[in-house]
């Protein structure tokens, strides 16, 4: 029998008279849902004639219309030339030799142009082309297509044509002349003989004019020292290929020290040949590229560096001078000094201390050694700025003595400390003329603004080294016809409006080039000769006494430096460089204060990894004298000298760049008296900064088969099987070499080409030129800070940086091997935790990693649609149009080199970088696909380049030459760490590398049989 029990949901129901119960019986809710309040304006809604049915009709119609419209294929137009230039064949790349010098970076380069637009910078390998392109020079091509460039001259913010502008300037010059006021021409260092001539003519026409060169990041101390010693305002162009012992004191010569560009010579001595390699000591405060490559790195403050320099000076010259070196450094310093002295002419000392006396001592030490790296070297003219001259200009401006200020390609409003008050001083100048690329801080403060041509649109000549001569030529017609290069402006101002700088340059060529052929120099880009040698007589005067008087100031010491990616900040609007992860910290899209672990603990500063994998860090406020910099994020940097902090230039720009790029803190604010080393006080600020750091695991945790390394001693004396251990696996319960076990049948690769890429960890300095070259060659998208933070960076080629947690990597391995049990002294539980954090002064190793093009590729076997497949030539192919985006391949890749397009990165306002505007897109390589959303991509081993090389050979009916094959990264590598080639060609370099006993493959025990090989890092300790 069924029961008649009454079930009730609430006590309210028991009350029969309740209105709520009544209401609930007929309605779901007691009260009417207030739909009107969230539907917005109810009246308006009622008033419109669009009913729900109409809405559905609209939806239906538009869907149908869109579907129908989609059936029609797009019509493509092809517009040929009316008159085709003889040298241009559509689809065939042309190369032009030119010279880059923007006041900071310089290089002899080849510019690859396709269909009339420059798309890539390559190194010029002609004899005499001394300077290779660094990461910034490689990226500078994107600066040409920068939508933020000035496109039209303006007078007080109103656009005007150039004639009007030049008339206005001429009038201002005439006014200044009659009023007896000064005309100041403020430029970066100009190493151009013809521009100097033109400036001299300008000064002759305007007798009150003077020319001042201003380097944003000053090398004035070294220049003053060199000038005092030799009379020329220049720098020694050390030839490190002649040095067996290199002692660096505060000099990041693999970075930007005195212009940088020392990788090639340095690396040539770092690869052990016949059991020999150079020995490198580095004494420095910040962890730099040079310190990372050093055999013995001693972190010490600037003050201690001065003492070390004095000590080395005493030992080398035998004058008995001795610095007050701290006890803990004494050993290392005296060992370095003695080895340097013993090396004699094969030794060299490089000094980066920002002090004229210290620089004098450095010259004297090298002179005393009769160092070949010094005596046979040329003289660099790439830095000539003077701190004193800038101070003088400021004084004159403030006194109202300057009638016209012409700034060209400098941004003093940004790059001088605020306390200098340059902007205020500019207000006292009646006419300020700005010539430059972007509407930066100085342009905003100037009354007349002229857009300059990019160096790829300009003519020019350079004498980067004393006695050398190089030409710069345009590779494209000026994109903005209203713009003028600096020299053309000067020609107009000296009454030669109709003369082009090209004609002027060509007319002046016989005078400055010393009988060279114009055609040949234009073709080669450079002439091979330069003046050699510095004299060995260097009078130090009272430098020693002056230096000895140096005091250690506290509480902390700030060491300002320029970052590999950003330099002096000229390229702040370059998305490639913003996204380029710093080789040391692996942080992109930021600058930060680097502090040592000890100091961080003391100040309560932290770096933490949050749940999404991002890195967060504390903020600090910095005070130098009266200058303050607030809320600067902190990175705890292993190897930072305790008591010092580091901060890089080039960030914190606010004018003339996209919002995304207006990031970081402006270190120039603290750059008092152009001293890179300053006493600073630090206080912790509130909040946490979100970094975009691409590498969270700092150490290898004893996994010796990723970065293999050994010491020169062991390398020389022991068998390769001892220091380059082949990984073993178990087969039928007996150990066999991992490379001999196979699950798959192998392809027959004996016929045709078989490409291999060789990477020598000894030669790699981590400079990152390859990363940017890869970006440019392969149309790799920029994804922005927040995406990088989510580990969605798209770099096909990354340079992993590993610290050791013991003093050496070998120590890490030993420690791991000796784990015993879970807990206790040798317990793995605590032991692994310890291995995770880098030691105070860790060893550093750089390892470029890209797709390893495994012969037995794990990615290929898991692709459900066979989008990634193997070729006989050793390349692992990726057919983007076939990929459906399952990402199985990325998950199955042991090297984590595959990159997924989470979004559409081109033509998308969410990713407003160069691929989102028509101008920026001109840099794209037409031979490589631009990938779309939802597909996987990765390094292709530049298959477009290898195929082009093969085709070239086929067309000419010849075999491919031994080392003809190149990839973008190997071509960009100036240190020779990356070599690419065909191992089936027995004459090729890589074929011999394959047999080298230092050769190993990454994660060999996995059995992937990669086509990228590495070479064991050997340290000369």
């Amino acid at each position: 029998m069924s029961s008649n029990k009454k079930y009730w949901k609430s006590v309210e129901e028991l009350n029969e008279n309740s209105s709520i119960v009544d209401a609930l019986r007929s309605n779901e809710f007691v009260e009417e849902i207030p739909t009107d309040s969230f539907l917005g304006n109810a009246d308006k809604l009622n008033a419109t004639g669009t009913s729900r049915r109409d809405f559905l009709k609209f939806v239906g119609f538009s869907t149908a219309a869109a579907t129908l419209a989609a059936c029609e294929g797009p019509v493509h137009k092809s517009i040929p030339y009316v008159v085709q230039p003889e040298s241009v064949i559509p689809g065939v790349a042309d190369y032009y030799a030119t010279t880059v010098f923007d006041g900071y970076d310089f290089a002899n380069v080849l510019v690859k142009t396709r269909d009339g637009r420059p798309i890539k910078i390559e190194n010029n390998k002609t004899a005499g082309a001394t300077f290779s392109a660094n990461a910034r020079v490689h990226a500078s091509i994107l600066g040409l297509y920068d939508n933020y460039r000035i496109k039209q001259p303006t007078i007080k913010g109103k656009t005007a044509d150039f004639d009007k502008v030049s008339n206005a300037i001429s009038k201002a010059l005439a006014d200044a002349k009659s009023a007896g006021k000064q005309v100041v021409l403020l430029t970066p260092t100009i190493a151009s003989p013809t521009t100097f001539k033109l400036i001299a003519e300008f000064i002759a026409a305007n007798p009150t004019a003077k020319h001042v060169m201003y380097d944003a990041v000053s090398s004035s101390a070294a220049l003053d020292a060199y000038q005092q010693a030799f009379g020329t305002r220049g720098l020694v162009d050390y030839d490190l290929s002649k040095a067996d012992v290199v002692v660096g004191i505060g000099a990041d010569f693999l970075g930007d020290w005195q212009g940088g560009g020392y990788d090639k010579g340095y690396a040539s001595k770092r690869v052990p040949k016949n059991g020999k390699m150079s020995k490198h000591f580095q004494f420095e405060a910040n962890m730099t590229l040079s310190g990372a490559s050093a055999d013995k790195r001693v972190p010490m403050s600037n003050y201690q560096q001065i003492q070390a320099l004095l000590t080395v000076y005493g030992v080398v010259t035998g004058t008995g001078v001795s610095g007050n070196v701290d006890a803990k450094y004494k050993d290392a310093v005296s060992k370095a000094a003695q080895q340097l002295k013993a090396a004699g002419s094969k030794g060299v000392l490089l000094c980066g201390i920002d002090d004229k006396n210290a620089q004098l001592l450095a010259l004297a030490i090298n002179a005393a050694l009769t160092s070949e790296a010094y005596t046979t070297a040329g003289t660099r003219l790439v830095r000539q700025g003077s701190n004193a001259a800038i101070a003088q200009v400021l004084q004159e401006m403030n006194a109202g003595n300057v009638g016209v200020l012409i700034t060209s390609h400098v941004n003093p409003v940004y790059s001088l400390p605020k306390s200098y008050g340059f902007e205020a001083a500019m207000k006292k100048v009646p006419t300020s003329v700005f010539i430059g690329l972007r509407s930066d801080e100085t342009a905003v403060a100037s009354s007349i603004v002229i857009g300059s041509n990019h160096y790829l649109e300009s003519w020019g000549d350079y004498s980067l080294l004393k006695g050398s001569y190089a030409l710069a030529q345009p590779t494209i017609r000026p994109l903005f016809s209203a713009n003028k290069q600096f020299e053309d402006v000067l020609l107009a101002l000296t009454g030669r409006k109709n003369l082009s700088y090209y004609d002027y340059l060509k007319a002046n060529f016989p005078v400055v080039s010393g009988g060279l052929s114009w055609g040949k120099v234009l073709h080669d880009g450079v002439s091979g000769t330069y003046a050699i040698g510095q004299s060995t007589g260097v009078a130090v005067g009272d430098a020693v006494t002056a230096l000895s008087a140096a005091k250690s100031e506290g509480p902390y010491e700030l060491n300002l430096y320029s970052k590999v990616g950003m330099g002096d900040g000229q390229h702040a609007n370059n998305p490639w460089l913003q996204e380029f992860p710093d080789p040391i910290t692996r942080v992109s899209w930021d600058n930060y204060v680097t502090v040592s672990k000890a100091d961080a603990d003391k100040l309560g500063l932290v770096n933490v990894n949050v749940a999404n994998g991002g890195l967060n860090g504390s903020y600090v406020n910095l005070t130098v004298g009266s200058a303050k910099l607030e809320k600067v994020p902190v990175i705890i940097q292993p190897g930072q000298a305790p008591g010092t902090i580091g901060l890089s230039f080039g960030y914190g720009k606010k004018e003339g760049l996209k919002e995304e790029m207006q990031i970081g803190s402006n270190a120039f604010v603290l750059y008092q008296n152009f001293k890179s080393s300053l006493p600073v006080s630090i206080s912790k600020a509130d909040g946490e900064h979100e970094f975009a750091c691409v590498q969270l695991h700092k150490t290898l945790m004893g996994r010796g088969d990723i970065v293999k390394e050994t010491t020169l001693e062991i390398f020389r004396t022991e068998d390769a099987s001892k220091w380059n251990v082949a990984p073993m696996v178990s087969l039928d319960h007996s150990p066999v070499k991992a490379v001999e076990v196979d699950l798959w049948d192998s392809f027959d690769r004996s016929t045709g080409h078989h490409f291999n890429l060789s990477i020598d960890l000894n030669a790699c300095t981590g400079c990152g030129a390859c990363v940017i070259a890869c970006h440019a060659e392969n149309n790799v998208p920029v994804v922005g800070k927040s995406e990088v933070r989510r580990s969605r960076d798209m770099h096909w080629l990354r340079i992993d940086r590993y610290y050791s947690s013991e003093t050496t990597f070998e120590g890490d391995n030993e420690k791991k091997e000796n784990f015993d049990g879970l807990t206790g002294d040798k317990g793995s539980l605590g032991g692994f935790l310890e291995l995770e954090s880098a030691s105070e002064n860790p060893q550093v190793a750089f390892q470029p990693v890209m797709c390893q093009h495994c012969n037995h590729a794990p990615c290929e076997t898991v692709c459900p649609v066979a989008a990634t497949s193997h070729s006989r030539q050793g390349q692992n192919h990726m057919a983007y149009n076939r990929c459906v985006g399952t990402r199985y391949c990325a998950n199955n890749c042991p090297y984590k080199v595959r990159r997924f397009n989470w979004f559409l990165y081109n033509n998308n306002d969410e990713f407003d970088f160069h691929m989102n505007d028509d101008l920026g897109k001109m840099v794209l390589n037409p031979d490589v696909n631009v990938r779309s959303r939802g597909v996987m991509e990765k390094c292709s081993m530049c298959i477009q380049m290898t195929q082009a090389t093969i085709l070239e050979a086929k067309r000419s009916g010849r075999e491919v030459r031994a080392d003809e094959f190149e990839t973008a990264c190997s071509a960009a590598c100036s240190s020779g760490a990356m070599k690419f080639g065909d191992v089936n060609n027995k004459d090729s370099e890589v074929a011999s590398f394959l047999k080298d006993e230092r050769m190993y493959h990454l994660l060999e025990h996995v059995g992937t049989k990669p086509n990228v090989m590495y070479h064991v890092k050997v340290r000369n300790v």
């Binding site: 294929g73 040929p80 065939v92 004996s750 016929t751 497949s869 696909n929 477009q944 086929k954 067309r955």
Partner: protein, 450 residues
């Protein structure tokens, strides 16, 4: 892939409409030429008066000499590098002409007023000296240049074909009309026979009884579930077949022949005049793009060819001479060539051609690989271009089409040192003497997709 089976269906259903259209066509065609003929007639009369008695020369030999020596710079009726030459013998003294043709710069030096005038008028370009021509030769040439214009004959001849065409049309119409009449008579007769037979049957009383109404066939069909199922499956399968066929031809633009801004006939250039493809598409030899020739390449010839003078081949009847000449004028407008003054004006207007062969961005194709290295004829992929009045896409340009060719085509290795070693090794491996592109690795994804 072509649409399977749809076209016959369509054609069947629309057969009748087509038939009607054809009839209409003949009727209109018959009218057109008749209207065109009178318009051309007045032009014929005028030049006939210019006919002058030829000198002692032979105009036929003169024509040959003219084409060999003079035609590069002179035309009979239009200015080119030099002046128009028709009737020059009547304008000028013969002795002067002898001297001028044999060595014009001598005449200019001598200070002859007329010679100087001509020299200055034509941009001071010196006429090539022809000392090898005898006076007799020159007479022959002058005889040729003094011939009257043939134009009227051509116009008359043009009118003639109109006649037969008109007759032809009416004959067809008559035949058709007769056929329809016959058909109508037949139908009429059949109806008649039928009614007569029925009448006879009725009279004989042998007319069959009308059947009792059974189940209608459609009802019986609907009741038979098996049949319904079979039909449903059949319909589904056949519609799937058509849908698949439809989907597979999306994005395949075979036979795409867009209207171009200038009517450029490959038939005239590559066919009739036998110009090599790579004369204009020169970058096909060295570049990934075959390239659309820049306009200065056109002007290499068209500086001298200002009007269409093609053979009066019936194939050109679709377009008139005036039409072609107007198209050449479009080229002149684009390149900025002033035909009358034989000068570039500097005012250019680049031609926006409609691109016919569009490979998707993800497929890399290099012309030089196929043209120079493999030595493949352009026609293999682009079809018999030399017969195309309007250029179209010949090949489907699908991946299957590419792959198929790579499977079948033997790589041309002889005389190319690049292949020597590879050929030796591969032919040993596969045991063959000829290698296909596929065996060389031409099917690997990355060879075309990167």
């Amino acid at each position: 892939m072509k649409l399977p089976g749809i076209s016959p269906l369509i054609s069947k259903t629309s057969l009748f409409t087509l038939l009607l259209l054809v009839v209409a066509q003949f009727a209109t065609q018959a009218q057109a030429p008749a209207a065109a003929a009178p318009a051309a007639a007045p032009a014929a009369a005028a030049p006939a008066a210019a006919a002058a008695p030829a000198g002692a020369g032979d105009p036929v030999a003169g024509k040959a000499l003219f084409n060999a020596n003079c035609a590069a710079c002179h035309k009979l009726d239009a200015k080119m590098t030099g002046p128009a030459l028709r009737g020059v013998a009547e304008r000028l003294d013969k002795e002067f002409l002898y001297k001028w043709i044999k060595n014009s710069s001598e005449v200019i030096k001598s200070g002859d007023a007329y010679a100087l005038k001509i020299f200055n008028e034509y941009n001071k370009s010196v006429m090539t000296a022809f000392p090898q021509l005898t006076n007799a030769d020159i007479d022959n040439i002058l005889a040729y240049t003094s011939q009257p214009i043939e134009a009227p004959a051509a116009t008359v001849a043009g009118a003639v074909p109109g006649g037969p065409v008109a007759e032809d049309g009416s004959t067809n119409a008559i035949i058709l009309g007769a056929l329809i009449l016959v058909l109508a008579i037949l139908i009429f007769m059949l109806v008649k026979v039928n009614s007569v037979l029925t009448q006879i049957a009725k009279n004989n009383g042998t007319l069959p009884e009308p059947k009792a109404a059974g189940t209608p066939i459609w009802k019986a069909y609907a009741k038979n579930q098996f049949l319904v199922l079979v039909t449903a499956i059949f319909l589904l399968l056949s519609s799937a077949y058509f849908v698949y066929g439809y989907l597979m031809q999306i994005g395949v633009d075979q036979d795409y022949a867009p209207i171009q801004p200038i009517h450029y006939s490959h038939k005239i250039h590559a066919g009739d005049n036998g110009i090599d493809c790579k004369y204009c598409h020169s970058s096909a030899r060295v570049s990934k793009h075959a390239g659309i020739p820049s306009l200065n390449v056109c002007m290499n010839c068209h500086k001298n060819i200002a009007e269409f003078v093609g053979d009066k081949d019936s194939t050109y009847t679709e377009y008139s001479k005036e039409f072609y000449t107007a198209e050449i004028q479009k080229l002149y407008d684009a390149v900025g060539w002033d035909k009358t003054n034989q000068k570039y004006t500097g005012k250019t207007k680049p031609v926006k051609w409609v691109r016919i062969h569009n490979l998707p961005d993800f497929a890399y194709f290099n012309h030089s690989q196929h043209v120079t290295v493999a030595g493949i004829e352009c026609q293999k992929c682009h079809g018999p271009v030399e017969t195309y009045e309007i250029q179209k896409q010949f090949a489907p340009l699908t991946m299957g089409w590419c792959i198929n060719c790579h499977r079948e085509t033997e790589v041309k290795m002889e005389g190319n040192a690049y292949y020597d070693k590879v050929h030796k090794e591969l032919s040993k491996k596969y045991g063959v003497t000829k290698l296909t592109a596929a065996q060389m690795g031409g099917l690997e994804c990355g060879k075309c997709h990167y």
